[in-house]
Amino acid sequence: MVLKAFFPTCCVSVDSGLLVGRWVPEHSSAVVLAVLHFPFIPIQVKQLLAQVRQASQVGVAVLGTWCHCRQEPEESLGRFLEGLGAVFPHEPWLQLCRERGGTFWSCEVTRRQAPDAPSAPGEDQVMLIFYDQRQLLLSQLHPPTVLPDRQAGATPASTGGLAAVFDTVARSEVLFRSDRFDEGPVRLSHWQSEGVEASILAELARRASGPVCLLLASLLSLVSAVGACRVFKLWPLSFVGSKLSTCEQLRHRLEHLTLIFSTRKAENSAQLMRKANTVASVLLDVALGLTLLSWLHGRSRIGHLADALVPVADHVAEELQHLLQWLMGAPAGLKMNRALDQVLGRFFLYHIHLWISYIHLMSPFVEHILWHVGLSACLGLTVALSLLSDIIALLTFHIYCFYVYGARLYCLKIHGLSSLWRLFRGKKWNVLRQRVDSCSYDLDQLFIGTLLFTILLFLLPTTALYYLVFTLLRLLVVAVQGLIHLLVDLINSLPLYSLGLRLCRPYRLAAGVKFRVLQHEAGRPLRLLMQINPLPYSRVMHTYRLPSCGCHPKDSWGALCRKLFFGELIYPWRQRGDKQD
């Protein structure tokens, strides 16, 4: 196999010395981490390498020599470098050489022991691969997604050669701690040898975050203890709490805040990204909420809104009344059953009358309520939107009631019709066997059954029409609420920090690597430049999406149509953990 030597780009023009790194025999690759300069004492070098090996669990060793000199190396230097191979035994021994100011490199590999295989490789070919050490250290490799038909417990693929390189560089941080201003026994050159990078702000934030997190975590635990107390588990409050989406959203945000301010350190990078994404999402939410707040409270817009709200509710109620009058007449040319029509129409009209009275009763308090609701926007735009969705649900409560009445009536009628239709054909539903069986009825049973069937059949168009109209209205309200929920979900689950990282520091999120062949001369080893291939935006979204509330419609379209046809009530936004009706 071709021997691959991974060489950091920061060490390309440093002085001669020893190559320090890790040898990976399975992929025949030598990962050079640093260059150790002359003069050195071999005992101290071996001690340093043993310390690094113990601290980082990476098999760091001296891999060979690096020669960067004015012209072709002289004989004595060549023999000196080969002699070093006896002091630091390593198999194979690499000798890299570059002319000062020249572009082309030369590379020699010496193997001490005779190869065991009969087909001995005549001469090892060497490939030089340059990599940016800082980018490789900071980046995180995202392996391609596992195919869905593989079980989770299948044998994991052996770590590829590139994953081993990423792993080696990432774990050898302890080697990069010293820079050239340290008065240590050995002089190393690596990406931090010009001076270790640090930021004062980051250090201050790290020191301050400890006590601040402790304080906020205790406050948040107090709030959640209050929220979990017995009063809220009693029937009226727990029912109301589960139906309102605002409570759900507040609970969600409390969970997020507890995660952010928890005093436990993030164990791996996925948890760190999740924390960072949560912080970004909360900040965006609060910023948008404050913008909304300032817009609402400026130029007395709340007053205008409150003034417009009651006339709008009145207008909606008037339109509903017109609709019912239309249904009570001959809607779309259909002839309805006059008696049933009048009964249903008057029933619903009385409801609307009650509703308008309640709205007029509430109208003096509307402005105050709206003002306080507007204040809730400082908790976040998502809370304000959830409140809006709840207000819409409350204001269209009469439409919901009409829908339930119409659906129940229609459902009863359909069940009655199907049962009497079976009687008409001489069959019966067997509850024990859960199937339709033939049955012999008496004459009077058949007579009454057929009579009732005819009555229900001829009353069907009226009921069906009322059901259709009110279901459409209900679906319209549900669609508006659904749009608001979608927006809230979007703000909740968007991984802003990951997207920003992908935009500004694309090397941090790596999907893989890409190679570029550098200038090549026949007879010299092949030189490649390895760069990070950043993760595409779709995969960033998919990998780092925050978990949302889970308020997605549970039924598929087919199941929904079936429910509508049979008159079963639909609850598209059933929350997680709700008992089935």
Binding site: M1, V2, K4, S28, P115, D116, A117, S119, P121, Q125, M127, I129, L147, R150, A154, T155, P156, A157, S158, G160, G161, L162, G512, V513, K514, F515, V517, H520, L526, L528, N533
Partner: protein, 188 residues
């Protein structure tokens, strides 16, 4: 070593294949697709603008004309950046892997690198494409669970779609490197 030959794709357009042999273990094949023709660009623009002018005479709203100009510009930029591929490159490096690069007309490059451990073989496969039967070159990836199975088939030169004679050239060169790689990988 570098040489260039001219081939044709499945629709009859001209393709240029550039081969670069950097070393016995590293080869690069660069396939250049036909450029965006001025004729088709003019035809599309004229159609869109005539339609917009027709709508304008009906509606007397000058927003339609500005909207048509915006749509044409954005459509052209989107086409150049996301759809039109200028060049497709295949770089095969012994014992490292295979890299495929597509360069778009706006300069964007999208690269995929497959490590040599995952590659089982490179083959020429037949496919039914609309009303034609075409040949295409593809990489077969190993299945980690089953030693003789194939987990994925990755087609190469998907948008250039060269004909069989060009594919045979590329296939022969790749098989030389793969054979050499298989021979050396079995030895310790």
């Amino acid at each position: 070593m570098e040489d260039e030959r001219s081939f044709s794709d499945i629709c009859g357009g001209r393709l240029a294949l550039q081969r670069r042999y950097y070393s016995p273990s590293c080869r690069e094949f660069c396939l250049s697709c036909p450029r965006l023709s001025l004729r088709s660009l003019t035809a599309v623009t004229c159609t869109v603008w005539l339609a917009a002018y027709g709508l304008f005479t009906l509606c007397e709203n000058s927003m339609i004309l500005s909207a048509a100009i915006f749509i044409t510009l954005l459509g052209l930029l989107g086409y150049l950046h996301f759809v039109k591929i200028d060049q497709e490159t295949l770089l095969i490096i012994d014992s490292l892997g295979i890299q495929m690069t597509s360069s778009y007309a706006s300069g964007k490059e999208s690269t995929t690198f497959i490590e040599m451990d995952k590659v089982k073989d490179i083959v020429i496969n037949e496919a039914i494409y609309m009303q034609k039967v075409i040949y295409y070159l593809c990489i077969l990836l190993k299945d980690p669970v089953e030693p003789h199975g194939i987990s994925q088939v990755v087609p190469i030169f998907q948008s250039a779609k060269p004909r069989l004679d060009c594919l045979i050239e590329v296939y022969r060169s790749c098989q030389e490197i793969l054979a050499h790689q298989k021979a050396t990988s079995t030895s310790p």
